[in-house]
Symmetry: C2
Subunit: 333 residues, 2 copies
């Protein structure tokens, strides 16, 4: 029911994801009257899914506390998360209200042992490929221990998503000189160096422009800065796209040039397509919850489902546990 | 002497700036043996300038404390700032070590009445034109009072640079809902609303992607987040440029397209040219100090000189004082 559009995006998106991973099964949680007409158009998805009906839906503008008050145990969002808790589903994917989704996930699924606060991780396109950036807004601020925990969570996700043995991890900071930066970030660097974890190669500080360069597989910062960095970068990408569009339609010569280079522009658009990297991963919870952009289309929602698929298929939670609880890391954090 | 190149960039840059503002006079502070050969090639600049010789130069890798220890009273950086202090110069422009420049400026020039901590402001290109973003790294963290002071400083700079009566000011935050964001940012919003200043129109919170949209003339945040947002955006712009270059050289069709659209690409490059917006402005000090990017060329350095020129010509310090000390604002901060 979530996102700006609801079932007309979510259902075709799920159908696309199913075509890529035909063994997937879907629980579609929400208003049957809105889901079923969409499902009729997707016979393969219909065959692979079950509808769980509820009239209650969290609204995009609800505050987390409101959502919990009105939607606990009844809303589609709650029931979808609850299916993960009860082991009926392996992952929840939602395009709904982020704050409400996090509040419900936290309330219902609880935190993993050794983790106090959840995080949201995003996949960030870079000149080298892709990196994981976290936290992009689940919690604000945090001490060295929190940042080190984010490094553990992010590196587990990088192992899953990029199939790496020992992903590189950098801490976002405002200078590579030792004199700069905040105390927590400096202490987190010392802590990560001291821990010297088998599943995580700490590479030191990374500045804001190092993210796009692909300076590390995982970039760690607290949620306020991470959210602003992500949105500043998204805004800049959109801005560049606008400049390009207006430049290419300025003169007849540029319009002809555009026609010749149409394939190149299409490749560029594909490269910059934010839908392909849709799917913020909630980390630190005892279940897998993926947040799709609310404004995405079916293609973007399918990407979010794909991310959830990967996290389940390649055992995100086990990989987090490997680093955190089997190596005795948690006790040293 | 500052920047990656020194006099071969600074001297031609000053000469360019002089052509745009022929009434400018220059004090060129540094090693005469390096300055004079460059100056010989710029007769107009030579006629409008005086060389102040010193052998001592702050190095790009010096820590601020080292720079102060070794370069106080003797280095070119110190002497340039000192010329402003003594009223011999109206502004200092340096492409040198940012931390050292800030430390020396603070030590020698002191803070304006009513201001505790300095800030660095950058001009950020937006879809509507340009905005001022501060603080981009002069100091880390800060309470509501600090953020409100940044708003005063930034709005004074916007009045100078954009010739506005009452610039709009937004606080960078991670959501426009009242539930989100950090306490300091929320309190700063209340404070700015309560102050209702004549020279500053507070417009509320702005998210990271609002900067590029031009959501406000002035965007306020503390230095850690501001620095990371700026560099993340710069990195993204460079990344988009790389993608575009590689897309346009991929096939013979795209290369032909590029030839036809060459003027459009040139216009785009001009639009995205970071040199045109070079010049971080130090705010809160009793004198005007402009920081040019260390890696810039003569064109970029000339832009930094232009920014200094504007700040002097249109009375930045008076405009800050107007808001801060004449309206009794300082006592309410």
């Amino acid at each position: 029911m979530g996102g700006d559009v609801g079932p007309p995006v979510v259902i075709p998106g799920a159908a696309m994801a199913l075509r890529r991973h035909p063994e997937t099964e879907f629980l579609l949680v929400g208003n049957r009257a809105l889901i079923e007409p969409e499902l009729e158009r997707q016979p393969a998805l219909k065959a692979a899914s079950r509808v769980i009906h509820t009239d209650v839906a969290v609204r995009m503008e609800d505050k987390p506390s409101q959502a919990l008050r009105h939607g606990r145990k009844t809303s589609s969002m709650w029931l979808a998360i609850d299916a993960v808790k009860r082991g009926e589903a392996d992952a929840t994917v939602s395009a709904g209200n982020t704050g409400a989704l996090m509040a419900m996930a936290r309330f219902n699924l609880k935190m993993m042992a050794g983790i106090d606060r959840p995080a949201i991780a995003a996949v960030w396109p870079t000149l080298r490929g892709e990196s994981i950036v976290l936290d992009i807004g689940a919690s604000i601020g945090g001490d060295a221990k929190h940042l080190a925990t984010l490094a553990v969570l992010g590196s587990a996700m990088a192992r899953v998503l990029f199939d790496l043995e020992r992903p590189t991890v950098g801490l976002l900071n405002i200078g590579t000189e030792e004199i700069k930066g905040v105390d927590e970030v400096r202490e987190a660097a010392e802590l990560l160096r001291a821990l010297d974890l088998p599943h995580l190669a700490f590479v030191g500080f990374v500045e804001g422009d190092g993210i796009g360069k692909g300076a590390a597989d995982v970039i760690v910062t607290e949620g306020f800065t991470g959210n602003i960095a992500l949105k500043a970068a998204e805004g800049t990408a959109r801005q560049m796209g606008e400049y390009l569009r207006s430049a290419m339609s300025r003169t007849w010569r540029s319009r002809i040039g555009y026609l010749f280079a149409r394939d190149a522009f299409q490749a560029l658009r594909d490269k910059m397509d934010p839908r392909k990297l849709n799917g913020g991963v909630f980390l630190g919870l005892t279940g897998i919850v993926i947040k799709s952009h609310g404004g995405t289309d079916a293609e973007g929602f399918a990407s979010a489902v794909d991310v959830g698929y990967d996290m389940v298929r390649y055992d995100l939670l086990t990989k987090i546990n490997q680093t955190l609880n089997r190596d005795g890391t948690a006790s040293r954090l």
